[in-house]
């Protein structure tokens, strides 16, 4: 029974750390959907967010095998109920004068931005929960999508007693 899990990994901010993580995933055959890395407020620590697809057994393997790496300080799953996920999407759409306003309407509903405009195309920037981005992409399918780029998910656990997600 395959499911999607978001995993957060805190690692030492040193050369080759990402290689160590990715090499482990590769050689153990862990199936990764997306992976993002960034600095944290502590300059010695980086945070990696992984979208992992697998069953309970492979989830337990990815957690315990990764935890063994010397560079890994902490690893845990971000449970859907008490975490927030965000992703950034850039989309270049072919659009002439006639189509522009219809596209702008969709972008506005999704609270996105048109960040570049040329005679026959425009570029949309949209951030949000991954499902929102999926929904947007589906709606845009009837237009001429020239290029799409998504950053992959980054996630954080909520503070106690908080259950708001302004993106809902």
């Amino acid at each position: 029974m395959s499911k999607k899990e978001i995993i957060s990994i805190f690692v030492e901010n040193k050369a080759n750390v990402l290689t160590r993580i990715v090499s482990l995933f590769g050689r153990r055959g862990f199936n990764i959907d997306s992976l993002t890395v960034s600095a944290t407020n502590d300059p010695s620590i980086s945070r990696i967010t992984v979208v992992f697809i697998g069953n309970d057994q492979s989830l337990s393997q990815i957690l315990t095998q990764t935890r063994k790496l010397e560079v890994v300080k902490d690893i845990f799953t971000l449970e859907k109920e008490n975490s927030l996920y965000r992703e950034l999407l850039l989309m270049k759409v072919g659009a002439d004068k006639k189509e522009r306003s219809a596209i702008k309407e969709i972008v506005d509903i999704y609270r996105g931005k048109i960040i570049s405009l040329s005679k026959d195309s425009l570029i949309v920037e949209l951030t949000g929960a991954p499902e929102k981005l999926d929904g947007f992409m589906e709606l845009m399918n009837c237009y001429e999508i020239i290029e799409v780029c998504r950053t992959g998910i980054t996630g954080i656990s909520r503070g106690p007693l908080s259950n708001t997600d302004s993106d809902d």
Partner: protein, 552 residues
Amino acid sequence: MKLKGSQIIMEILMEHGVDTVFGYPGGAALFIYDSLYDYQKRIKHVLTAHEQGAAHAADGYARATGKTGVCIATSGPGATNLVTGIATANMDSIPLVAITANVADDLIGRDAFQEVSITGVTLPITKHNYFVNRIEDLANALRDAFRIAQEGRKGAVLVDVTKDVTNAVYEFEPAKPRTLAPHPTIDTKKMEEVAEVINSAKKPVIYFGGGVASSDARNELADFLTKIDAPATYTLMAAGVLDADDPKNLGLIGMHGSMAANRAVDAADLVIALGTRFSDRVALNPNRFAQNAAIIQIDIDESEINKNVVINYDIVADIKDALNILTPLVKQANHQDWVQMVHGWKKDINVPLADAPLRPKEVIQKACELTDKETIYVTDVGQHQLWAAQFIKHKNTKSFLTSGGLGTMGYGYGAAIGAQLGQPDKRVIHFTGDGSFHMNLNEACTAVSQNLPIITIIMNNHVLGMVYQWQTVFYEKHYSQTEPQRKTDFVKLAEGFGATGYRATTPEEFETAFKQALQSKGPVWIDCEINKHERVLPMIPNGGTIEDMMID
């Protein structure tokens, strides 16, 4: 005090009690070797014929002594030649520190002469590795390497140091070896639950592996065994933990394990797995392994839980710690009927073979009979390895050195050299096959120059026996590349190296040769003529269960 990088390496070796290292010099390692020259009274450097031999020797030294083995190599080919040895040690959780020199930092990444990114190469086969191109990082990297090699589940660590760092001068502060992280704390409630499960079992079996040896839990295992009154079987990595003559000892488990061991695990209602990882050579069919039993697994490595076989009760702990808590919690049991039933499954497999005057079992038993119980046995990989595992009367831990996980042909001679240097007062016997021995017999020159009285027993059947056996059984006797038609004269070859060689074609000839070998001061080879139709039995093919066991 201010020291050069190469001197810092020496000081840190001494901080960790390292008095013997194995290696091979080269251009990038010149400063390191210059310091080894200065420190030669305190650190003995053993020059091998090939870096692979150095890595295996450091591994053999570690297995025979329990200390961390150290090998040194130069950049490029020196470093890549260590790779098989590092992987061998890491797969068997053996503490090893490999130090490699790399080209100077200003040449790194420019495909310089003898440049290789050895940290990249060894990433999947080490617990951790370091690339050191700043002198200020050197001491910390080396100290952490020694810590990591011994901490938790042991393993191999590599430290790659650029040549400029070995010559740079930096302030050095002597320090004690790093404190190892404490063992995992044991959940007593979980342990009580496990004790309950053990108390209510009717047909328990213990299956243990290298983790018991690694945690030095031999006595604790014996006490536990007595208390729960269960038979026990072991993996290749744990030969010697339980005395061969112990009536509870069922012998080896798995593909070439004993009938009694494999049947017992299959019939058991509870399997207690201690320091072992359900490898594919043990749990040949992971879905049907111990199919009638609940399984308790105790291991120091959390990632081994549920990795290959689904576990019912798990305890993440050092085996010695765990047994010290568990044994007092379990009731004194009496499983007389079960133990007797399992005993009844013990079977001496003796397949007659025409035209085979000298048989592997006789050779091994005779060698054991003529040496004391402190003897260290080292093997290569193949048929002789399993015969040695089956027929040696294992008496001690750290006394059966074999490449279990990686299955490295050519492991034996280097490992025997390391073992003999680590345990100079013990007898070291190296069992090999003509296939394995051809891979790394060049280390004979090392055994000769170090004047080591290692006795090498070559099971010479003129074929690559294990593959030959599989081809016989499963590939319609298509002997593809397993009959090499070599004409090597091992007696002359031994003499050519400055060692002594004997040939044996009968048990009498073997006994005479072996007795002479025991008198020798230097290395001796005994070339034993073995019939190529000798098989390792019993045998359960991959994916099989006890029902698929072949006994003739």
